[in-house]
């Protein structure tokens, strides 16, 4: 089963501590070596992006930043045997924020990707 994990948090006013980035790299390496992590990357703030929308038959293009309270921070793509396994890897990822970035708050959404192996 494949899962897409999206990390969302309010736009931070300071850059993430280097210890956090180091710990994230280490966890990423571990998950890759475990054969679970297929792909991951950080995302620039939405100010660098754009939105294409369809409403009332009208196509519109708007430059970022988006109005949402939370920014999309990063994504990760996991191949695991169960949702619980994706939850466990994601919990480890979130714990790193708790341990290395005082006061940080945010959330990760875990979404299953369509595929042939969609057995319950």
């Amino acid at each position: 089963m494949r899962y897409m994990v999206l990390l969302k948090a309010p736009q931070a006013t300071t850059p993430p501590p280097p210890e956090l980035m180091e710990a994230i790299m280490k966890l990423g390496e571990e998950a890759t070596k475990a054969g679970a992590l297929l792909d991951t990357a950080g995302l620039y703030p939405s100010a660098a992006g754009a939105k294409v929308a369809l409403a009332g038959g009208q196509l519109s293009v708007t430059d970022g930043p988006f109005a949402e309270a939370k920014e999309m921070i990063s994504y990760a793509l996991y191949q695991v045997r169960s949702k619980d396994e994706a939850v466990e890897w994601t919990s480890r990822f979130i714990k790193l924020h708790r341990d290395h970035w005082a006061g940080w708050e945010g959330e990760a959404e875990i979404l299953q990707v369509f595929g042939t192996d969609d057995h319950a």
Binding site: A34, E88, G115
Partner: protein, 422 residues
């Protein structure tokens, strides 16, 4: 959105932790107690203790380290009670002391290295040539994949006691043959690695051969094999054939969604809807193939097969396929890893690259091959080439023969349809 019941959430977390940590746990313990069977029992004991304690105390912050510490305590308890393990206890005590003494800022890195080596030892032990191939497969899925005996049985369509017996016998063989929990000596590395890669590819093919209606554990063997292949690529990054096998499996797996039709019927490679191919797996496969190539491994049998699969993966439409390159790669492969099936595949490629008459000449060299006597693909390929040459009566006969030989009902349907309209 519903909040999850905490006790149930803990149980599910324990299962996930087990799945992630069990191989490393067993590998680390096996180095300490120098017995894979005992290591697995100790790891299971630690799991049972976690199931008792975590629902009350919560999941520890570093569950892997918790399980390892708990299992080590169990190891010491068990050995104290068993005289025959007195010598091992001494060794464990010594190892623990050494570990405590070396505690320092680099300990994490040191432990990571050791874990990598331990996992590799576990891989080579589970795939040891003293074991039968069936035993290697079962032990690999059990110790490295964290699968239960029941799951392995369902995946291979055999009974649970059969798999249980196989694993018990395998562990006993490792003990009686005095197989050390060690990495193979350099002189044996190539042969031992080829045994490991063979086991992983066998697991992959077992899953790939699964058909609609099979228990879902069967196709999930492909995922298990891919995962093992990715783990091996991390453990042995300098071995080109490890990347070759990973590339081959990633590219083959990229076609899983396209290779069966709505009714579960097989769809041949050239008839597949390529938009359904998994681009992420193709990209990963091509990257792995690049690594094999950069390491000078283009003559390895897995890298060669991956290179052939990559020719199809790179072609966005069937008519873009570089058949000359495929035919050339098969020509190398038949020297590196000769087999009648490789030669038959070469015939197909030659037929596509240089015309059906040339392909037929290759096939006709195979008709007296005993290994292909009952192989339905031989008349099927011959029939296809004859049809392209306009020799329709002969083609019809070949497809009828192919239909009579295959044991797969859906494939028979495919051959009979060709026989009716060659």
């Amino acid at each position: 959105m519903t909040a999850t019941d905490p006790r149930r959430a803990t149980h599910r977390a324990i299962e996930a932790v087990w799945r992630i940590e069990s191989a490393r746990l067993i590998a680390g313990l096996a180095r300490l107690v120098r017995d894979v069977g005992l290591a697995e029992e100790l790891a299971q004991d630690a799991l049972v203790i976690a199931l008792e304690q975590w629902p009350e105390a919560g999941v520890p912050d570093n569950p892997g380290a918790w399980l390892m510490a708990t299992a080590k305590h169990r190891a010491i308890d068990v050995m104290r009670r068993q005289d025959r393990y007195a010598r091992k206890l001494e060794e464990v005590g010594r190892d623990l002391e050494v570990q405590q003494r070396s505690a320092g800022p680099d300990l994490d890195a040191a432990i990571d290295d050791v874990i990598g080596d331990d996992l590799l030892r576990l891989v080579f032990t589970a795939c040891h040539p003293v074991l039968t191939v069936d035993a290697r497969v079962a032990l690999t899925l059990r110790l490295l994949g964290g699968l239960t005996t029941g799951e392995i049985a369902r995946a291979f369509l055999v009974s649970e006691p059969t798999v249980g017996q196989r694993i018990v016998r395998a562990k006993r063989t490792l003990t009686t043959k005095r197989v050390e929990f060690e990495l193979p000596p350099p002189a044996e590395l190539a042969d031992r690695l080829s045994s490991v890669l063979g086991v992983v590819y066998l697991i992959f093919n077992e899953g790939y051969a699964a058909t609609a209606g099979d228990d879902w554990m069967r196709p999930s063997l492909c995922e298990e094999a891919l995962r093992l292949g990715r783990i091996l690529a991390g453990l042995l990054p300098q071995e080109p054939e490890v990347h070759g096998l990973a590339a081959l499996m990633e590219i083959q797996a990229s076609r899983v969604r396209a290779r069966t039709g709505p009714a579960g019927e097989p769809v041949l490679l050239l008839d597949q809807d390529r938009r359904r191919w998994d681009r992420l797996l193709i990209r990963r496969g091509l990257d792995a193939l690049d690594r094999a190539e950069a390491l000078g491994g283009m003559l390895g049998p897995y890298a060669l097969q991956a290179a052939i699969a990559a020719c199809h993966a790179r072609a966005l439409a069937p008519e873009d396929t570089n058949w000359e390159r495929i035919a050339a790669l098969y020509d190398v492969l038949r020297h590196v890893s000769p087999s009648p099936v490789v030669e038959l595949n070469r015939a197909v490629a030659v037929g596509m690259a240089f015309g059906p008459a040339q392909g037929l000449a290759v096939v006709d060299g195979l008709t007296s091959e005993p290994a292909l006597h009952d192989y339905p693909q031989l008349p099927a390929v011959r029939g296809d080439l004859l049809a392209k040459l306009g020799r329709l009566d002969e083609a019809r006969g070949e497809f009828e023969r192919a239909a009579a030989l295959t044991r797969n009902a859906r494939e028979r349907g495919l051959f009979l349809a060709r026989a009716a309209a060659p």
